[in-house]
Symmetry: C2
Subunit: 543 residues, 2 copies
Amino acid sequence: MTSTMQDDFQLTTTAILQHGAQVYPDSEVVTWTGGGARRATFTEIAANANRFAAALTELGVQPGDAIGTFCWNTAEHVEAYYAIPGMGAVVHTLNIRLTAEQVAQIVEHAGDRMIIVDDSLVPLLAAVAPQLSSVEAYIVVGQADTSALENHATVHRYADLLAAQEPTFDWPDIDEKSAAAMCYTSGTTGDPKGVVYSHRSTYLHALATLAAGVTGFTEADRILTFVPMFHVNAWGIPFGAFLGGSTLHLPAQFMTPDQVCAFIAAERSTVASAVPTIWGGIMQYGREHEIDLSSLRMGTSGGAAIPRSLMAGFEQTYGVRIIQGWGMTETSPVAGMAWPPPEVEPGAPDELDWRLKSGRVVPGVQMRIVSEDGDVLPWDGTAVGEIEVRGPWITGSYHATDVPEKFDDGWLRTGDIGTIDHRGFFLITDRSKDVIKSGGEWISSVELENLLAASPDVAEAAVIGIPDEKWTERPLAAVVLRSGAAASPEQLAHFLDGKVAAWQIPENWTFIDEVPKTTVGKFDKKVLRSQFADGELKVERSR
Amino acid sequence: MTSTMQDDFQLTTTAILQHGAQVYPDSEVVTWTGGGARRATFTEIAANANRFAAALTELGVQPGDAIGTFCWNTAEHVEAYYAIPGMGAVVHTLNIRLTAEQVAQIVEHAGDRMIIVDDSLVPLLAAVAPQLSSVEAYIVVGQADTSALENHATVHRYADLLAAQEPTFDWPDIDEKSAAAMCYTSGTTGDPKGVVYSHRSTYLHALATLAAGVTGFTEADRILTFVPMFHVNAWGIPFGAFLGGSTLHLPAQFMTPDQVCAFIAAERSTVASAVPTIWGGIMQYGREHEIDLSSLRMGTSGGAAIPRSLMAGFEQTYGVRIIQGWGMTETSPVAGMAWPPPEVEPGAPDELDWRLKSGRVVPGVQMRIVSEDGDVLPWDGTAVGEIEVRGPWITGSYHATDVPEKFDDGWLRTGDIGTIDHRGFFLITDRSKDVIKSGGEWISSVELENLLAASPDVAEAAVIGIPDEKWTERPLAAVVLRSGAAASPEQLAHFLDGKVAAWQIPENWTFIDEVPKTTVGKFDKKVLRSQFADGELKVERSR
C-alpha cells in the first residue's frame, strides 16, 4: 500500500512567504528609524521579495549561489530572507561584529557572489572589500556614498533594482532539501564554521516554534527581535512570523536601551527576544528612566544563561515573564524552551528554578547525554554528560569542512555538558571545553561564575581551568569587582563556602577590569586562557 | 552549495511516539470504563506499542500490509496507532457505524490482513466476518466470546500477544513517505474512497495542529476526544497529544451525555473535541441535570457547521468557548480553524460571527476558490466558488481508485462551495452537490437550513434541489417540526421573508419525522432525493 498524500509538496521558504502574504496580509514588518518607524505590510514585503527575486535572476544569480547580507534587522533584510532562497540561491547572513579578517575569511569560504549591505554599514564593509575576491557586486540599501566599494565590484542600489521589476515573480520549483540560508558559527571554539540550512529545515523549525509549548506566537503578537538576523536567522523568528502571522518589530541599528524602550512604548510590542546582555541593559536603563514595558506579555532569552536576578527583576518590576530558549547555530537554533511544567503555577516558589533550566526538548528534536567513555546516560537529572542532538533542523555536517569530532553516529555533539531529567528538562552546567577536570572529577565553571556573580562585591566573573600538577586542573576565577568593592580572594572563597563542595572552590584568583567577550556577548575564555599562558594575569591565592 | 542539515531525518509516527514517551512520560491515556477510568502513562502506552509491534512482526505482518481496527477510542487503539505504522504496516481504522455490506466492501478493498476488534464490538464484526476473505486473523481486545470469529480466521487475544513480548522493540527505519494510516471517506457522495496517510503527512499535521493559532494544545491539557478514532484519526489528536504532551481522555463506548459529563467532571478535561451532535446532546442533558463543565477551557467542533445558538449557549451557560475547525478525511483533517482575528476581543458583539466562519486557512495548507468555469476567484469575501486545497497533508489521490474529477491541477476539489475573505477566513455555503441552481443563480441549501432551524417551530430542516421546468431547479424544504408545533408552509415561507432574497425562498415543502443522516451524523440528502424521486415525500406548496 502506498500513501495517497501530496508527499511531494515541498516545504520551502516561498511557501512560508506566500502563507504570510495571503493569510496575514495586514501584519507588518516595522523597522525603527531612531525616533519613529517605517512600516510595511506582509503584502508589501512579499511584493518587494518578488521584485528582488526577479532582479537577482536578471543579474544572473544561479541556484546554489551564496549571496551575503551585511545588514541590521530591517524590512529589506526580511525581503532578502525570502527573495534569495526563493529564487534558488542561498542567503548568507554575515555577522557585522566580526573582525575584518574574519569577514574576509568567511566571505571567501562561502564564495559569496554578491553582498547586500545596509547604508550605515557601507564604511565597515568597504574596509574589507579589497580582500573579497569572490564578490562581483554590492547591493546597497539606502543612499550611502559607495565610492569605496565601486573600486572592487559593481554597485547596485537596492531601490533601483526593485523599481525596475514587477511586484510578481514566477517562483521556481525548489527541492525542499536545497540550501536556503547560511550562517557561520561565532567561532568561540576555533575557526568559524558554516552551517547551511535547507528549505525543509527552515520550514520545519518555523512550524515547530509556533507550537503553544514552544513560543506560542500568533497573529496577536508584535515581536521585537533584538537578536540579530545575522545570528542564526534571528532565532528563526522572521520565518515563524510569516507562518503564524505575527508582526515583526525590527530595531535596525538602534540597539541602545533608550531606543529599545522608545520602540516598545511606541509600537506596543507584545514579545521581545534578546540575549541576556540586552535584557540587562534594559533593566539598567529602567533604573534611571521612566520606561513603559506594559505591552510585553513575555520575553524570550537565549544565547547564554540569564541571571536569576535579572529574570526575577523583570517579573517583579515590569510584569514581564522571560522564558529561556536553548540552541546554537547548528540547531537552527531552537532545540529547547524552559517553560515550567504545567503543575508549577506562575508565581509558585519554585517556578523560577524551572525557568532557569536551560530548556526542555522541543517537538522535532531528539536529545541524549553521553559520557566521556561514549556511554549514553540516563535522563535522571543527575548523570552529567555531553549533550547530543539530532533532528530535521540539526546540522549533520559543516560547509566545505570536515569536522568529524563534532558528530557521534549521526548525532551533533553540542559541546555543552549537562543533565537531563526524566521529563526532558536539561540543565547545561558547562561547555565541554570549559569544564574543569580536577582529580578525575568535573567542576562546572558556569556554576562557579553564577555563584560569584551573586556576590554583592562582584560585577562578573569567569572561571577557567589551569594546569595543576597534583589535580591535573584547578579553577582560576577571573573576577571583575563592582566599583567601590574590594573583596579579597579569601573573602570570595569564603562566600562560596557551603554553596559548592569544598574541593570545587577556587584557590586561584585574578582581578580584571572586564571579562573578554565574543562578538555575540559570550565570555571569551580563549582570551583568558591565552592571557594566563602568557603570564598576563596576576594570580593571587586564597589559601 | 548544499544543505548541511540532517535532511534525511525521517518524520515518522515512531518519532512522535518516542518524543511523547521520553519528554512527557507522565502524561496519560485515560480510558473511561462507564463508572470510572483506567489509566496508562505515555511510558506504558509506548511499552505496549513496542510489545504489539514485536507481536505483529512475529505474526508475519509485512511492510505495507493493511491491518484493520474495529475499535472505540481506547488506550489499545492508541497503541495500535503507533505499533502498526511503526513496524511498517498501515493502520486502517474501520468505521464501526457502517453497514455490514460497507464494512465488507471496505475491508476487501483495503485488503486488511488482520483486524483488531474491541470486546464489545465482536458480535457486530462477527456478523460480517464470513465475507471478509482477506482477513487471516482477528486480534481481540478483551475477553469476549470469539467463537463466531474462529470459524473464519485465527483469533488472538491482544493481552496474550503483548504478554509474550518484551517492552522494547527495535523499530525499523521507515521512509517518511511510506503509508502509515488509512481511512475511508464516509461516502456521502458515492462509494467510500480510501485515503492513505503517510508518516510524513501524519507528523506534519500533528506538528501544525500544536501551533497556538491552530489548537494550542500543550502538556497542561487533558483532551476529551469524542470524535472517533475511526473518523480521520480522531482529527489527529492522538498524534498531536504525543508530540505536545497532552493527556488523552478517551470515552470508549460510553458516548451518551450522562457518561460524557461524568467523565469530564471526574477527570477534569480541559478540552473536548466533538461534532455538533454531541455538543447538542450535552447541552440538552445539561438542561435537565446538574453538570460540571468548569474544567473545560475550550471545545473544538467539526464535521458539520455548529448552530449559533449552541455555540452561544455553551459560552453563556458553561463558559465554554467552542472553536470550529474545518477539514475532511482527505485533509487529515485540519485545514482551517475559526479563531476570531486578534482585533476582535472575546465577548465582542461580532465575535460569534467570526467563530461561525468555517475556518481560517492554517499554516501548511494552501487554499483557493474556483468558479464553475475553472477561474481562480479573488479572496474578497463575496466571490463564491468551489474550495480547493493542497499541501503536505492533503490527499493527491485515492487508494486503488482513479477519481480524476476530485482533482484540479494538483489541488483537491473539496466539493464545498464558499467564499474566502482577504485574510483567509472562509465560509462554506454549501456542498457542490447540494447547491441549488435556480435560473442561473445559486441558492445555498445550508443557508436555508440554518435559517429554518432558527424558527421556534422547527426542530431541523434539510433543503434539496428538485427539478423545475422554468428555473431548472427549485428548493424543496424537508422540515421536522418541534413536538407540539404546527407551522404551515405559508408560515415558514413568511418566516424567511427578508432573511434571504425573495426568489430564494422555497415554495415546495414537505414535513418529515427525521432528517435521514449518515453514520457520522451528517444530513444524508441522497436519501431525501431518492425519496422525492420515488414519490415518497408529500410535497405542499406555500404559494
